[in-house]
Amino acid sequence: MYYWDNLAQNVVKNNPVWVQLLGLCPLLAVSNTLANALALAGASAFVLISSNTLISILKSHIPNFIRLPCFVLIISTFTTIAVLLLEAFAFELYLQIALFIQIIVTNCAILERAESFASKNSILASFFDALGTSIGFAIAIITLGLVREILGRGTLLENLNLLLGQPNISYTIVFFESPPISLANFPPGAFIVAGLLLALAKTCFSKKI
């Protein structure tokens, strides 16, 4: 039960994005379409879960004063693996978001979980902690991607075919012929939309927290 409580806590009460405000750099950069957001959420989850589990396995062998370089080494390894896998199995999508998948290394949500949880807790607990954080991050980036794609492009699920490796089938749903607020598609729009969603999340959850 402890594991599930911890997981649920990381999704809502300790949400890495809306509560702790971590990992905003890749979040804002890639969330312009829902498909990109899904790909980044998947890659981040892969890196977060595998690096947290590995760090937890190795925690007693890593000397305390050199732990951060070791964590970064492990995280960057899994990021590179994620990039290679993406390049091999979803090449079209890789061409679009490769640079942003690479900056998962700098996602402080991952290093924060490694430092404050995985290096002190058991393997199973770290796994569930990472799973919870990944789900929390995924919910945040998918919400942002959803809102930004509808506002900034007027479509939904554009490029999903690239994510699924079927370049010839289109899943795009068109909401508006011309984008209602094309600013949302660009970096400044990302900050504005993220700020508004943050305010919304604060209003909705402030009483419960």
Binding site: L58, P63, I66, L73, T80, L84, A98
Partner: protein
């Protein structure tokens, strides 16, 4: 101290083993993807110019008399910019159409050269050497713009090229 160095060293060995394993299993697929991607761009480029696509198995099907394909690389702002150039020889002189295959220019600033993201490079289709040498620099992306101009100049000057499908 020695304990720390050994730990980092062993960890480094461990992660490089993982990395080389992944690389071993993905490199063939990645190489195949790159060739496929390149030939798709080439097919599209030839179709856009109403050129009949020659069969890869039969290199004699098309003579190199009125068009050639050149693959040019030039350093951009970050890493090399790889491109395919279609040079057509017309009565008024040689004209060039470029497509970028691979680049790692800054997203949102330098990636306007990518025809999938911006129609800029398509607007420069069928331009002569003189027109290519006078293309405008994009502010904030001067190095990228210059690299494209360099690629265009090399495409006009270099010898060789081919009129069969690559890969």
């Amino acid at each position: 101290m020695i304990k720390a160095i050994t730990a980092v060293f062993l960890l480094g060995l461990g992660v490089s083993f993982f990395l080389s394993l992944t690389n071993h299993y993905t490199q063939d697929k990645i190489a195949k993807n790159k060739i496929l991607h390149q030939s798709q761009i080439l097919r599209k480029l030839l179709m856009d110019h109403q050129i009949e696509i020659p069969e890869p198995a039969d290199p004699t099907a098309s003579d190199c008399s009125n068009w050639i394909i050149r693959k040019i690389e030039s350093p951009g702002y970050s890493g090399n910019i790889e491109s395919l150039g279609l040079v057509q020889f017309r009565k008024e002189g040689a004209v060039l159409s470029l497509r970028i295959i691979n680049h790692s220019e800054t997203p949102g600033i330098g990636d306007f050269i990518d025809h999938r993201k911006n129609s800029w490079i398509k607007k420069l289709d069928n331009k002569t050497k003189q027109e290519w040498s006078a293309i405008d620099m994009v502010s904030g992306a001067t190095i990228t713009s210059k690299a494209v101009r360099t690629i265009a100049m090399i495409s006009f000057e270099s010898e060789g090229g081919q009129c069969v499908l690559l890969g």
